[in-house]
């Protein structure tokens, strides 16, 4: 317990009051910031190895734990994707690959990458590490709950992976788990596999809710003095909005997973109509499969933004720092994030244009979907306008950002194809969709994750990553990934349906054999290139250049901790006080090209800095 810290805090709060001097008749102090509303948070400091590194309540350690576990599952997802591509490019090359296995790999790859990798990595990993640091909090508001959150995630991953070893194997019903086929014979893993999947998802949602409450309340109620919402880095805004979406969207997933489990275990008929299977009428009757699709996509579409919004936020910060220029149109960026988040609850059925739902829904959802394109486009403009007239450091971090812009714009525009109801009809359920969502919520967020790793590794580890390896890593990944997914759109134009184990007996599809082999080869190379990063991290931990404080000359609070890497409690004796937004780069008249958030106005009176 840190009783002594509390006392320090009180002294500090008092001193700032005396400075304010509003009532004493002296001219108001331009550095005045309201005193702290709340007493300093008291934290539980671990002393043993177990409480310090395993069941740890420090958000930073939890963040790293999330990061490592998510990466581990991500690597499993990567290996599954290799196996799939092997089958698609070179059918029969892997002797054990049956249709059952193929569909199981497709399903597990999808679910792992979307939920257990990207969601956990962005919100659990970056969220935990960065939120308290960037908002100037000592830790998350409920450290104990935060710890439980991670271990729930751990159990969820365990249950998920356990499904590989049960009779029948993991579920092979596609990551959307559509009933009736998800729980009927004829789909691999329709026994234990699907039950474990549902249980794992329910655990994940429960665990995530605990973490999510922490992120939200920390951002809303535990910011440091002077840190207004409009002075938060866009990273925090992205993670914040994504967490709100998660809190409101995961319930639909929870409910649909629960109902499907009941359909499977108790033979209820929520989603199951009368079904004839092998000449026998099953005991089900009266349910509607489309209801599941509505519930699933009521979760599923916000989920897309749960992955995308943190990426938007992080990339904004990286671009701004490394082009030494303020983010262009900060307010617009914040509003765009919030509006995208809010609208994402009104667009879900654009995944269902050809599902047989009420035909009139097409008008409603096409309109709402295309409205989202406007704030999204504004964000893109603002990123490139931030580059404009900047002073761009073309280091590894910036390369990832540029890669993100290219892939994201590409994937965003194919999104307009699929969101516009008529255009979607010929393209839906084809490889165009696969190419689109991999580009926009696979590769683009991955580019950001990589950029963020290169950017924040010096903070976490105190050492720099190798730039040379980083550049190799970037170019192989970017060019490789682009050459996987760009041509894949054309498979969709031809009309090749997705989720085909084999496709070569149709004449117009046969023409794509060469392309599939090319795509598969690229996929192997890109996947392998990711091990460059792991090598880079392992080596740099030992022999990397010491980073020192604030190696990128950034403004936001996480670089301004008294120690690097920051310790438990983040700020030593005194919480930072914030006077400005985190984007005061290249201010005319300033000595250096950056003004950290903690620099009081009195120190920069001679500059032309704008009040934020």
């Amino acid at each position: 317990m840190s009783e002594d810290i509390n006392e320090n805090k009180t002294i500090q709060a008092q001193s700032s009051e005396t400075i304010s001097g509003g009532e004493t008749g002296v001219a108001p102090d331009i550095d005045y910031v309201r005193p702290a509303e709340l007493a300093d948070q008291d934290l539980y400091h671990g002393h043993t190895f177990i409480t310090k590194w395993v069941f740890c309540q420090d958000a930073k350690v939890i963040g790293v734990q999330y990061f490592l576990l998510a990466t581990f599952t991500g690597i499993i997802g990567l290996i599954l994707s290799w196996l799939m591509r092997l089958q698609l490019g070179f059918p029969g090359a892997a002797g054990f690959m049956t249709a059952e296995h193929y569909y199981q790999f497709v399903t597990m790859h999808g679910m792992i990458m979307v939920v257990y990798f990207l969601t956990a990595l962005f919100l659990g990993g970056f969220g935990n590490y960065l939120i308290p640091l960037m908002t100037g909090a000592r830790d998350m508001v409920f450290p104990y709950v935060n710890m439980v959150s991670f271990w729930m995630f751990f159990v969820a991953v365990g249950v998920l992976l356990a499904s590989f070893f049960v009779p029948g194997g993991p579920t092979g019903s596609g990551w959307t788990l559509y009933p009736p086929q998800a729980i009927l014979e004829g789909t691999p893993g329709s026994g234990m596999g699907i039950i474990l999947m549902c249980v794992s998802l329910i655990l994940f949602v429960a665990g995530f809710t605990m973490g999510g409450l922490n992120y939200l309340i920390t951002i809303l109620q535990a910011r440091t003095r002077g840190m207004t919402l409009m002075r938060m880095p866009l990273t925090v805004w992205g993670i914040f909005t994504a967490t709100v979406l998660a809190m409101l969207a995961f319930p639909a997933l929870l409910v649909s997973a629960l109902m499907m489990t009941l359909d499977k275990v108790l033979a209820t008929s929520f989603f199951m109509p009368t079904i004839l299977k092998a000449g026998e009428v099953l005991e089900y009757g009266g349910g509607t499969p489309i209801l599941f699709q509505h519930l699933f996509w009521f979760f599923g579409h916000p989920e897309v933004y749960i992955v995308a919004l943190p990426a938007f936020g992080i990339v904004s910060d990286l671009i701004s720092v490394h082009s030494r220029k303020n983010i262009f149109g900060y307010r617009m960026m914040v509003w765009a994030i919030v509006v995208i988040g809010a609208l994402s609850f009104f667009v879900w059925a654009h995944h269902m244009y050809v599902s047989g739902m009420h035909p009139w829904f097409g008008f409603f959802f096409a309109t709402t979907t295309l409205i989202i394109a406007v704030p999204t486009a504004m964000k893109v403009y603002n990123w490139i306008l931030t580059l404009w007239r900047g002073n761009i450091r073309l280091n590894t971090v910036m390369l990832w950002c540029l890669g993100f812009i290219v892939t994201f714009v590409n994937g965003g525009i194919t999104g307009i194809f699929l969101g516009n109801v008529t255009v979607d009809v010929p393209l839906s359920d084809t490889y165009f969709v696969v190419a689109h969502f991999h580009m926009v919520m696979g590769i683009a967020p991955l580019m950001v994750i990589m950029g963020a790793v290169y950017h924040w590794f010096p903070l976490v580890a105190g050492r720099m990553l190798s730039e040379k390896l980083g550049k190799w890593h970037f170019w192989i990944t970017f060019l490789g990934a682009y050459s996987i997914y760009f041509p894949m759109h054309y498979l969709g134009f031809i009309g090749v349906p997705r989720r085909y184990f084999e496709m070569y007996d149709s004449p117009y599809i046969t023409s794509a054999v060469g392309m599939n082999q090319f795509i598969s080869t690229s996929a192997f190379i890109v996947g392998a290139a990711q091990f460059i990063l792991i090598y880079n991290i392992v080596v740099s931990l030992k022999i990397g250049k010491p980073a020192g404080k604030n190696p990128w000359q950034a403004n936001s609070l996480e670089w301004l901790t008294p120690t690097v890497p920051p310790e438990h409690g983040n700020w030593g004796d005194k919480l930072p006080v914030v006077y400005r937004w985190p984007y005061d780069f290249s201010v005319p008249g300033a000595k250096e090209d950056f003004i950290p958030q903690t620099t009081p106005p009195s120190e920069v009176v001679e500059t032309e800095v704008e009040k934020t």
Binding site: E37, L38, A39, Q41, D42, Q221, A222, L248, T288, I290, L291, H294, F298, F345, F346, A349, M357, H358, W360, F361, F364
Partner: protein, 112 residues
């Protein structure tokens, strides 16, 4: 722990709670009466919904203190309900459409 720097919190008079309590009983009784007298159709629906929303409103506003909370909290809590409302509205339409197709195609009276 965050102890809020404020004066001893003032609490509400007990009367307001008792009032709301009583009202909730009365409203519940009324909604029960809707069933008792077997009102049907639009009347039944509007009565059910009115009593339901009144009760929900009273509980939220007074028992959960939302009436006295600041607008920042109230708005954060209530706006997401528009997503629910949208979901409800669309699912009503969807349910009707499914029922319509089923009656239309699977029952002889409507045969195509």
């Amino acid at each position: 722990m965050d102890e809020i720097k404020k004066e001893q919190t003032t609490t509400h008079k007990i009367g307001i709670y008792l009032w709301i309590w009583g009202l909730l009983f009365v409203l519940s009784f009324f909604s029960y009466m809707v069933d008792w007298y077997q009102f049907q159709g639009l009347l039944r629906w509007s009565l059910i919904l009115i009593f339901m929303f009144l009760k929900a409103g009273l509980i939220m506003a007074f028992f959960m203190h939302l009436f006295w909370e600041r607008y920042a909290l109230v708005n954060v809590l209530l706006w997401p309900m528009t997503a629910i409302a949208c979901f409800v509205g669309l699912m009503v339409a969807e349910g009707k459409y499914t029922l319509f197709s089923r009656l239309f195609y699977f029952f002889v009276e409507g045969g195509q």
